[in-house]
């Protein structure tokens, strides 16, 4: 768990308040959150252009006002069962390490304030998810929100985008 701890302290130092804002979204039965500061915008699903020989979770690229943005399907990325895109399907455009990328989620929920004290280190999820992609878990009333370290999800180990072709 040492990794999560260090990431916490980094975030802690980055924001002066003792609570961080997260954008939450749903994926299957779970509620996830990403640091709102990473989020550039949210847009409805639009068809993408397929990239040859891309990893399966990279569904294609999109024109975002002149910028070519790769789009990652989080369900595929997490090995969840695939569903048809519908009117709730959204693309969350994030900026990670100066790259603009989009992630496809089932639906976007809300922006929540989560005090750092409410965040607990995530338990190991077994093989469905690499624990290092998680910043932690937070309880919001009835719901448990899984906080993603979106940098590691999109670029870190095991990084499909960083691998050479």
């Amino acid at each position: 768990m040492a990794l999560e701890q260090t990431q916490f302290s980094q975030n802690d130092a980055g924001h002066s308040t003792d609570a961080n804002q997260y954008l939450t979204f749903s994926l299957g039965d779970e509620e996830y959150g990403v640091d709102i500061l990473k989020v550039q915008e949210i847009k409805g699903y639009v068809p993408t252009t397929r990239i040859p020989n891309a990893p399966p979770e990279v569904v294609g690229v999109l024109n975002l006002r002149g910028t070519i943005v790769p789009i990652v399907d989080l369900r595929r990325k997490f090995g969840l069962e695939e569903i048809e895109y519908n009117q709730f399907t959204a693309i969350v455009v994030v900026v990670v390490q100066n790259r603009v990328m989009g992630v496809i989620v089932d639906s976007v929920s809300e922006v929540v304030n989560i005090p750092l004290s409410d965040i607990q280190p995530a338990p190991d999820f077994g093989n469905s998810m690499n624990a290092s992609t998680l910043q932690g878990m937070a309880r919001m009333g009835e719901n448990l929100i899984i906080l993603l370290d979106i940098d590691i999800v999109l670029l870190g180990e095991p990084a499909p985008l960083a691998l050479a072709a």
């Binding site: 252009t49 040859p52 891309a54 690229v61 070519i68 943005v69 790259r99 990328m101 072709a165």
Partner: protein, 697 residues
């Protein structure tokens, strides 16, 4: 000084770079016409501006060095020193030294060659004037240094300076504080009194006006002219009086053997480190602020762009048009009825025209005349001519042809190589030329011209031409052709672009250092261009580079593979054919080839490369697009060709990564992304695959 000067550094670097480029041209002209006084004046002004700028922005080593040069130029200008070959050489070397120092200041290179030897030569040239030596035979060097004030500390004057800036000085961008700080750098300020008696009551005060004046007592080894130089740019509006109150010989004069002791008390380390040598050597502490400055201002060649005002004006006009257009459209679409349709169509057409023009103009902002790339050649040719002992005239034409800024920077190196090549290999020695009945002076020409949607740049010489026999011999040696082959001129000449090829019988100072024509070709191709050559024995050789106008726009052919649309760069397409049955065959059941008019070409099924689901798998139902790169052709199997269009190239790598077979992306009319095919990559991959298959078979 609290003012952060680093923000102005970029502007200074650009200006100094321009001035040095001007200076180079001027020195070349001076060499031809040493008596031209106007030319000398311009050269002096150039050097003076560089010195002033570098001193202002804290680049003391450039300022010190240039100061010596300026003194020399001043003497030349006044006719005290005559220009001869060796002096001219000193001037050129000084120019190089200033360039090197500037590049250190920019943070582009870690260190510049030591200036001291060159400074000593400049000093010697200044002292070479007999009048001075005769007047002060015992202390010639010291006398000169005294006059210059930058050398040995010998005389310290005490001055009283009265400085009353005009009320508008702040509004005009002047800053008294900055000037006083500057003063502190060249002298010891003994006392400074600010006179605020003219300050009005707060209610009457104009915050942008200056009401203050100063009386400064200072001690310096500088002449009063040199001190007043600080105030050069505000002199017109300000009241400045400088009087010498006393003149004291510093210990330097008394004990010239120990100049280190000559440092006046509390000397500032930056500007006042006494040089141990009479020459203005670079003092180590002086290097520190420069280093710091270099760190603060990153080497940012591409960060700024100086654009002609008229180009910007046109852009502003166009944007204005677009805004008006937009409100017209708004008006039309509100309560739209079919009766308004003609007006809508008209408004949309107008909008289209304006936006198209805007695109062109925005592109033009990045365009610079190619003379920026040609500028380095007169000097290069001059130096090379001396090195190889040939007489060479450089002719340039079409310098105003505009090219993308990035392209200009990238094309300079391949052009340099071609010019060197022409001088070294192309042109004959004067004796050979005389024997061949040609004028002794050879000609190298640089010529740029517009050619349809692209730019052609030609480098030609009137030398001996390429030797067919020698190339053929080499090609046979390398196994590219057999003894019995008689390749066409075109094929044969193209061999010189092969890696490791050199026709030079011996390695010379200029060529044969491992950088060959293959690098030139690669450089040109990296810009999306192509290079060809023609040569006639005894008459000369011409290299012709064709370049797209900008790197951002590409003429492409859109095609479909399955449901996907791809763009194929037009420059790489040879032709497209619909193969008949039997034209496409398999070798050993694996490698697929197409027979096109007797030529055997490997077939690339694009849907296989890209893993897409095709509509067409039978070549006779689809199309073979034959593309060429590096003299290798392959046939791409595609479903359908759609049409030709200009596309804006977007990077995939910015947010994603490099994709095999894909050079980039673009945005189609409907807003969707289409990928641009990487023809060189596809050709390379195909060839290496066939080679691997052949090896395995």
């Amino acid at each position: 000084m609290n003012l952060d000067m680093t923000m102005f550094h970029q502007a200074f670097f650009e200006e100094a770079g321009d001035l040095l480029a001007d200076l180079e041209g001027l020195l070349l002209r001076l060499e031809e016409d040493p008596g031209d006084l106007e030319l000398l004046n311009t050269i002096f002004r150039c050097a003076h501006s560089i010195k002033g700028g570098s001193a202002t922005f804290g680049f003391t080593d450039i300022a010190h060095f240039t100061h010596g040069l300026e003194t020399l130029l001043d003497k030349v200008r006044n006719g005290e020193i005559k220009i001869d070959r060796s002096l001219s050489q000193v001037l050129f070397e000084s120019l190089d030294q200033m360039k090197a120092l500037l590049s250190v200041a920019r943070g582009e290179s870690a260190s510049a060659p030591d200036s001291s030897a060159l400074s000593a030569r400049i000093e010697a040239a200044i002292l070479g004037q007999p009048a001075i030596v005769a007047a002060q035979p015992t202390l010639p060097k010291q006398k000169a240094a005294e006059e210059e004030g930058w050398g040995v500390w010998s005389l310290a004057h005490t001055y009283r300076l009265y400085f009353a800036p005009g009320p508008d000085i702040l509004r005009q961008g002047g800053d008294p504080l900055l000037l006083l700080g500057q003063l502190g750098k060249v002298s010891d300020i003994l006392s400074i009194v600010c006179d605020d008696s003219r300050l009005p009551a707060l209610a009457d005060m104009d915050p942008e006006a200056c009401y203050l004046s100063w009386e400064v007592e200072l001690r310096s080894d500088k002449t009063s002219e040199e001190i007043l130089e600080i105030f050069e740019f505000v002199a017109d509006d300000s009241e400045i009086r400088l009087e010498v109150t006393s003149e004291t010989r510093s210990p330097a004069a008394a004990a010239p053997a120990a100049p280190m002791e000559a440092a006046p008390p509390a000397a500032e380390p930056v500007a006042e480190v006494p040089a141990a040598e009479p020459t203005p050597a670079m003092a180590p502490p002086a290097a520190l602020p420069v280093e710091a400055a270099a760190k603060a201002a990153p080497p940012a060649e591409a960060q700024t762009l100086r654009v002609a005002t008229d180009k910007v004006d046109k852009l502003i006009n166009l944007v204005g048009e677009l805004v008006i257009n937009q409100s017209m459209l708004n008006e039309v679409v509100q309560d739209f009825s079919m009766a308004k349709l003609p007006r809508l169509i008209e408004a949309v057409a107008e909008m289209e025209r304006a936006s198209r023009e805007l695109q062109e103009r925005v592109m033009a902002v990045r365009m610079l005349p190619i003379k920026h790339a040609f500028g380095r050649f007169p000097r290069l040719v001059r130096d090379l001519a001396a090195t190889v002992g040939k007489k060479i005239e450089l002719k340039t034409s079409g310098e105003d042809t505009e090219l993308d800024k990035g392209m200009i920077e990238s094309i300079a190196d391949p052009l340099t190589h071609l010019v060197r090549n022409s001088i070294d290999h192309g042109l004959e020695t004067p004796e050979e030329r005389r024997a061949a009945g040609k004028p002794e002076q050879g000609t190298v020409s640089l010529h740029a011209l517009h050619e349809g949607g692209s730019i052609a740049v030609e480098v030609s010489d009137d030398g001996r031409g390429l030797s067919r026999e020698r190339i053929l011999k080499k090609a046979i040696e390398r196994g590219w052709v057999t003894e019995n082959d008689t390749p066409s001129d075109e094929t044969l000449y193209n061999f010189i672009f092969m890696p490791g090829f050199s026709t030079a019988p011996a390695v010379t100072d200029l060529s044969g250092r491992g950088v060959g024509m293959d690098i030139v070709k690669q450089g040109v191709q990296a810009l999306g261009g192509s290079i060809t050559l023609t040569s006639t024995p005894g008459v000369g050789t011409t290299f012709r580079i064709r370049l797209p106008l900008t790197m951002a726009i590409l003429e492409g052919l859109s095609l479909t593979v399955g449901n996907e649309t791809y763009i194929l760069p037009l420059t790489s397409i040879v032709e497209s054919i619909q193969p008949a049955a039997g034209d496409v065959r398999k070798i050993a059941g694996r490698t697929e080839i197409a027979l096109v008019r007797g030529e055997v070409l490997p077939v690339v099924r694009l849907y296989q490369v890209f893993g897409s689901s095709p509509k067409v798998t039978d070549p006779t139902q689809g199309l073979l697009v034959i593309v060429e790169n590096d003299n290798h052709k392959v046939a791409l199997l595609v479903d359908e060709l759609i049409g030709q269009s200009q596309v804006v190239i977007k990077s995939l790598e910015t947010n994603y990564r490099k994709v095999r077979g894909i050079a980039g992306a673009t945005i189609m009319g409907d807003g969707r992304v289409a990928l641009i095919l990487d023809v060189p990559g596809l050709v390379r991959d195909t060839l290496s695959e066939s080679a691997a298959l052949a090896a395995a078979a």
